[in-house]
């Protein structure tokens, strides 16, 4: 009887230890709609990038600089996206955010959007190649690029506070529209996001 009791407790201990040893979670993949908010780590993510770009471009295009320009020049303004400086605590893929801004500007149909600095070089190289290798009637001549009237540029900054496993991350995205001729800032937009990330100190 004693041995039986002892054996049982030892067996129980073994089972508990096996339980303690942990089982690796299997990988599970679920397809979700691109609009679904996926806040996993609390860091800047695709949702932040998309939402900020959408709301800020919408706001930018509602301000009078657009109508003032259209009325005086009788055409849509030409906009280029310049540098968005990452002044945050994270290695934010600024390129994705710039692409989101470009998409929103282009799709708004209220401005003419031209390729930025990085893309221009590729197009110019292609034009040079065309001049050498393409049929004459299909070649695109140089000197016909559209100069931008305005440049949209800005910063992404963060303020981070943390204590006892709780982080408060405050993102501030500042964008401005600068008149390329006069350097005048015709629009200044700001979007703030605040996230609180809480971590448990102990779990089973």
């Amino acid at each position: 009887m004693k041995c039986g009791r002892h054996s049982s407790s030892v067996t129980l201990l073994i089972l508990v230890l096996i339980g303690f040893s942990g089982c690796g979670a299997e990988t599970k993949v679920t397809r979700v709609d691109e609009g679904v908010v996926t806040d996993l780590s609390g860091r800047w993510n695709d949702t932040d990038s998309r939402m900020v770009a959408e709301s800020m471009v919408k706001e930018a295009l509602e301000y009078p600089w657009l109508s003032n320009f259209s009325q005086s020049k009788h055409r849509q303004p030409v906009v280029i996206v310049g540098t968005v400086l990452n002044n945050s605590h994270e290695h934010i893929n600024v390129g994705t955010f710039i692409t989101d801004l470009e998409r929103e500007l282009t799709n708004s149909q209220k401005v003419t959007f031209v390729a930025g600095q990085g893309e221009r070089e590729e197009v110019r190289t292609e034009r040079k190649e065309q001049a050498m290798y393409a049929k004459e009637d299909t070649q695109k001549s140089p000197g016909k690029e559209i100069g931008a009237d305005y440049m949209m540029k800005g910063t992404i900054a963060t303020i981070l506070d943390e204590a006892d496993g709780t982080k408060a991350m405050f993102y501030q995205v500042d964008l401005q529209m600068v008149d390329m001729e006069s350097n005048a800032k015709v629009w200044f937009g700001q979007k703030k996001i605040k996230k609180v990330i809480e971590k448990k100190r102990t779990v089973f």
Partner: protein, 487 residues
């Protein structure tokens, strides 16, 4: 009523096999904390300046590290990949280490309990605070080497945040709660990216931290930092601060930011020597007079080392049954023989520029401080664990005796006692894990040179072969040069 022998043996067999299974299971699950010979191989590769090979050694040993030391694996690879010039991959490794450390904030009771029953090697390695700061330092240097200064500044901000949290958490002002070198490097990065205001703030914090930790960090305020403070205070027109620093550093010569404008900056980071390693310090506590004699005789006569010694001790103390073993980590410094590095920048035309590095971080002193700060906790836990193991072994012995009973009882008890107490001694092992691919010391130099192409040459005094590396810098640009000296 006497029990049939065969029956008793069968039941006895069941009990012992169950006990044995328990022991085997714990041994299997306890994990191996030994780092084998990999660091020896890494050191040999570093000595031969074969950094790809050093990284290959670490990569090959990934399984050896185990799941509990993933952070350490990523840290080691981050360092070897940086030395190999693969900065992007180095950052990928270090990013994983940082993410995992973040996740390890949440403790798992089952893991902690299991470690309490075996040893601290069963706990996931998350590194000491200074090692965690070094992750961001290495990442910042990687980004700077890639000329990605904005990303380097992200790391500077992370360093600032990490150190602020550490300062808030650590009430003892004599403890490691800030990092002079990490602050100083942040300042250099800010200034290199043109942010003089943040550079000044970082320099000032670095100066204060170097001063505050001087007693234990074995690192004086770098002379270059004094010049940096004067230059940035002057540039920001902080007249009061400038006057204070002038009074503090009357002999420091410095140039204004305007004088540097048409020059290029070269920052030399030198990793010298090897970080300290840890060994087991076994303390055998006898709880009877004959056990005391046994411990004294064993310590006096034993010639064996390492695993042999531990196996012999486990059998001896298991047989005696009255010895409790406690294992504590002991730091073994591996001091560098290179007090100062001299690097020459040889231009295509003109006279060479010679720069001398100076100590900015004594990693051994940091490791020493970190271990001493944790030692009370480690020792308390080790003693409690030893007491638990001893009690469990005693319980198993008595339980087995009672379970079998009769004439076989004492023998069964003896066998179970031997196994259980032997295991208690054998399983006791200190957590000796640390970021051993770090150097013993970090030296730094920064200088401003005329724009152009330079060939780097290390001074023969260091005994290192002449480097064939060249750098090309334009006015206003900065270049980071990282070198490893393993002596």
């Amino acid at each position: 009523m006497s029990r049939p022998t065969a029956h008793a043996s069968a039941r006895w067999g069941v009990c012992v096999s169950a006990q044995f299974s328990w022991l085997v299971l714990i041994v299997l699950l306890s994990g191996c904390g030994g780092s084998g010979n990999r660091y020896l191989l890494v050191d040999n590769s570093l000595l031969a300046s074969d950094y790809q090979q050093a990284d290959a050694v670490i990569q090959k040993a990934e399984e050896e590290y185990g799941t509990k030391s993933r952070v350490l694996y990523w840290m080691d690879r981050g360092m070897t990949l940086q030395l190999a010039g693969e900065y992007q991959r180095s950052n990928e490794m270090l990013e994983q280490a940082e993410d995992e450390i973040d996740r390890l904030y949440t403790r798992h009771i089952r893991t902690e309990s299991f470690a309490f029953m075996t040893n601290d090697n069963a706990l996931p390695f998350e590194g000491d605070p200074y090692e965690q700061v070094m992750i961001n330092v290495l990442k910042a240097l990687n980004y700077a080497s890639l000329n990605q200064w904005q990303d380097a500044l992200v790391e500077a901000r992370r360093i600032d945040h990490r150190l602020n949290v550490l300062t808030d958490r650590t009430k003892d002002k004599a403890a490691y709660r800030d990092d002079g070198f990490a602050r100083y490097l942040s300042g250099i990065l800010y200034e290199s990216a043109g942010d003089v205001n943040n550079a000044f703030i970082a320099y000032r914090k670095a100066y204060e931290t170097f001063e505050a930790s001087r007693s234990w960090s074995r690192t004086a305020v770098p002379s270059q930092l004094r010049a940096d403070l004067l230059r940035t205070a002057d540039a920001l027109h902080l007249s009061q601060e400038f006057r204070e620093y002038q009074q503090l550093f009357p002999d420091t010569t410095w140039k204004t930011i305007e004088e540097h404008q048409h020059l290029a900056q070269v920052i030399v980071i030198s990793y010298n020597g090897r970080a300290p390693r840890k060994e087991d310090l076994f303390i055998d506590l006898p709880i009877s007079m004959d056990a005391l004699q046994l411990v004294l005789i064993n310590q006096g006569l034993s010639q064996a080392t390492g695993q042999q010694h531990r196996a012999a001790d486990s059998v001896l103390y298991g047989l005696n049954g009255r010895v409790v073993r406690v294992a504590l980590p002991k730091l073994i410094p591996q001091k560098t023989q290179v007090p100062v590095d001299t690097v020459s920048l040889i231009p295509e035309q003109g006279a060479p520029v010679t720069i001398r590095t100076e100590l900015v971080q004594d990693v051994t002193a940091l490791a020493d401080k970190a271990l001493s700060e944790r030692m009370v906790g480690i020792a308390t836990k080790a003693v409690a664990r030893a007491a638990f193991k001893y009690s469990a072994a005693e319980g198993a012995t008595i339980g087995a005796q009672h379970a079998v009973g009769g004439d076989a009882g004492p023998w069964v008890g003896l066998a179970v006692g031997l196994l259980a107490k032997g295991f208690a001694v054998a399983s006791e092992e200190a957590d000796k894990r640390s970021w051993r691919t770090l150097p013993d010391e970090i030296h730094l130099a920064r200088t401003w040179v005329s724009p152009g192409v330079y060939r780097l040459q290390k001074a023969p005094a260091t005994g290192v072969a002449t480097s064939s590396k060249t750098i090309s810098v334009r006015a206003g640009e900065s270049a980071v040069v990282i070198q490893r000296v393993i002596q």
